[in-house]
Amino acid sequence: MSIRERMSGNEAVAIAMKQINPDVVAAFPITPSTEVPQYFSTYVADGVVDSEFVAVESEHSAMSACVGAQAAGGRAMTATSANGLALMWEILYIASASRLPIVMACVNRTLSGPINIHNDHSDSMGARDSGWIQLYSENNQEAYDNMLMAHRIGEHSDVLLPVMVCQDGFITSHAIENIELVEDDNVKAFIGEYKPEMNLLNKENPIAVGPLDHFTHCFEHKRQQAQAMVNAKKVISEVAEDFYKMSGRKYELFEEYNADGAEVAMIILNSTAGTAKYVVDKYKALGKKVAVIKIRVFRPFPVDEIADALTKYKAIAIMDKSEGFNAAGGPLFTEVTSAMYAKGVLLPKVINYIYGIGGRDVKSTDIEIVANKLLEILNTGEVDSVYNYLGVRE
């Protein structure tokens, strides 16, 4: 029997880490993810995990220690946000290029400057090309479930990539909601033993990690790394299927909500999807059909599946909780539209909204503005502005 509980998103992630019982957790506190290493160090202090908690002096060292620990054949985990993730930047790329399936809880927060502790997605979006798998979570349940699936995905022999599980800082990391936990034994069985083919501690087969890799081989290694990300898509779906069998909770690359008969859709990441679902339910009762597409897997980006799903819509609003500063639209917008163009999905009208920057509250009335705009475009067939801001004073 699963365990019904209530807790914050941070505690949910920490509980997942406790159940995973990794070899090493190396972390440095930063709001709003600080609670994760706090909870975890309590588990260590109470002897309920066998892990080493490495209280590093910076996030750069957190990721560096994770690289060392994972290369040594251990499971290494960390948690961070915003500037902490930025300080890890250099080593994020080395972790993925070294094919080390480290798992990180990323509690999304606005990346400085100016300094701001609240939620947007500028931190993880900046790391989107670092070679990490990125899973996004609407609520504490999804953050927990994604954490439980992360090792199975990253450690798969066709993948061997690190995984970042994102959730919205404060909005889900600190809000207490109901949750269904998986029993410890089931988690253990689901995760399995980590037995990397090669590791630093094997005296019989010493290895060398992190070479100087010239133009003679570097390209091939990068090609293999790119293929691992391609392979990850199938593995993510297979792991989700196994997870469904264990937990009864079904996860796809993205979720289509209220799609039946809808001709317009909003594409959203993380917690705002919950607000959007509330709004479209309300609209449904009024006879207005608006779908919500919540992207769960941003890396690898489900190009084919998204493009295919979007063929049935006439107007789409792509919602970005971070700026790309390309003077044309946010990162999710450019990913979705390039997927559409590449796959020949040219009929839907597309608009982009940048919203919630620096933790600006996103109310149901804000989402209604987007829904109304989509319905207006459906009606008129006209798009007056592609690149838009939602809820900003100007």
Partner: protein, 311 residues
């Protein structure tokens, strides 16, 4: 067993030949001798910061390291190896591994005194059972001889050039060994490859087999940066010690021990004059700079004698 170079030299090389370090470079001599201090039955995980040592010993698909080796980045040799050590502790506790593994992190002075100082300080403070070895060649040699905080005053480097108005580096070198002593870790040593390399070997052995975090600062001259003839490596090392520019000492659980006190302390100019990076000091009118260096060397030497209660 008393140290015997002939016996020690018979041990299998753990850093094999064929690497691409320069002739006359101090670093591989230092590394090989340190690795000889490992018990043959012990496995080692060796880390290195980005730098000459790393880029010359592990060029894909070749490695010169017989033990397991990891290079991560420039500033994180200590934290990377600390992570491997933490995994070892956890996996040993879980019964996943049985053999003994020793952990050694290397870094040049760039990766240690400067960009990697935070990572080093953190790893030492956290108490990992590991050795950190700085091979100190007194500048960023891998990128082409730029000044570091280990570069001696008045040295000519590519970012502290000896010009018409400014005569090389204008600052005194950082005393990293003292910085590490003040971490109050069980063992800190300063050494160099001189004579039969007994001092280096014995310090390496103690550092590797002392439980907890230990630190070694080892002088490792660079023929390109210091501008000396490659066969003169050992002579340069000896002059650094005989002039007390680079004293040999260790601090065991906070207790200073001076390992070598020259009978006739040579003037520092003997050390400076054999190196091209100091040649501008020997131009007429620049004698005062040599005097300044001598004064500072004397001051630091006197301080060390005081700490070691030698006078």
């Amino acid at each position: 067993m008393a140290y015997n170079l002939k016996e020690v030299a018979k041990k299998p090389e753990r850093l094999t030949g064929g690497h691409r370090m320069c002739a006359g470079c101090g670093a591989p001599v230092v590394v090989r001798q340190i690795l000889r201090a490992l018990k043959p039955e012990d496995h080692a995980v060796i880390g290195a910061a980005t730098g000459c040592l790393e880029v010359s010993t592990f060029i894909y698909p070749y490695t010169a390291w017989r033990d397991s080796f990891i290079h991560n980045a420039f500033e994180n040799s200590a934290s990377t190896v600390s992570g491997a050590e933490a995994a070892y502790v956890a996996m040993k506790r879980k019964g996943k591994i049985s053999n003994d593994t020793k952990f050694i992190a290397f870094g040049g002075d760039g990766g240690t005194y400067d960009i990697g100082l935070q990572s080093l300080s953190g790893a030492m403070e956290r108490g990992h059972d590991m050795v950190y070895v700085c091979y100190d060649n007194e500048a960023y040699m891998n990128t082409g001889i730029q000044r570091s905080s280990a570069t001696p005053i008045y040295a000519d480097t590519t970012t502290s050039p000896a010009g018409r108005e400014i005569h090389g580096k204008q600052q005194w070198r950082k005393d990293l060994t003292q910085v590490m002593v003040n971490h109050h870790i069980p063992y800190v040593a300063q050494t160099a490859a001189i004579g039969n390399m007994k001092d280096l070997y014995e310090k390496a052995e103690r550092a590797i087999y002392t439980k907890g975090p230990t630190f070694m600062n080892v002088l490792a001259p660079c023929p390109r940066g210091w501008q000396y003839n490659t066969p003169d490596l050992m002579k340069i090392n000896k002059l650094a010690v005989e002039t007390c520019f680079w004293p040999l000492y260790e601090v065991i659980d906070g207790k200073y021990k001076l390992n070598y006190k020259p009978k006739n302390k040579l003037p520092v100019k003997d050390f400076l004059k054999v190196q091209g990076r100091f040649k501008h000091l020997f131009k007429t009118g620049n004698e005062h700079m040599i005097d300044e260096v001598q004064t500072e060397v004397d001051k630091r030497w006197a301080e060390l004698l005081r700490l070691a209660e030698e006078n």
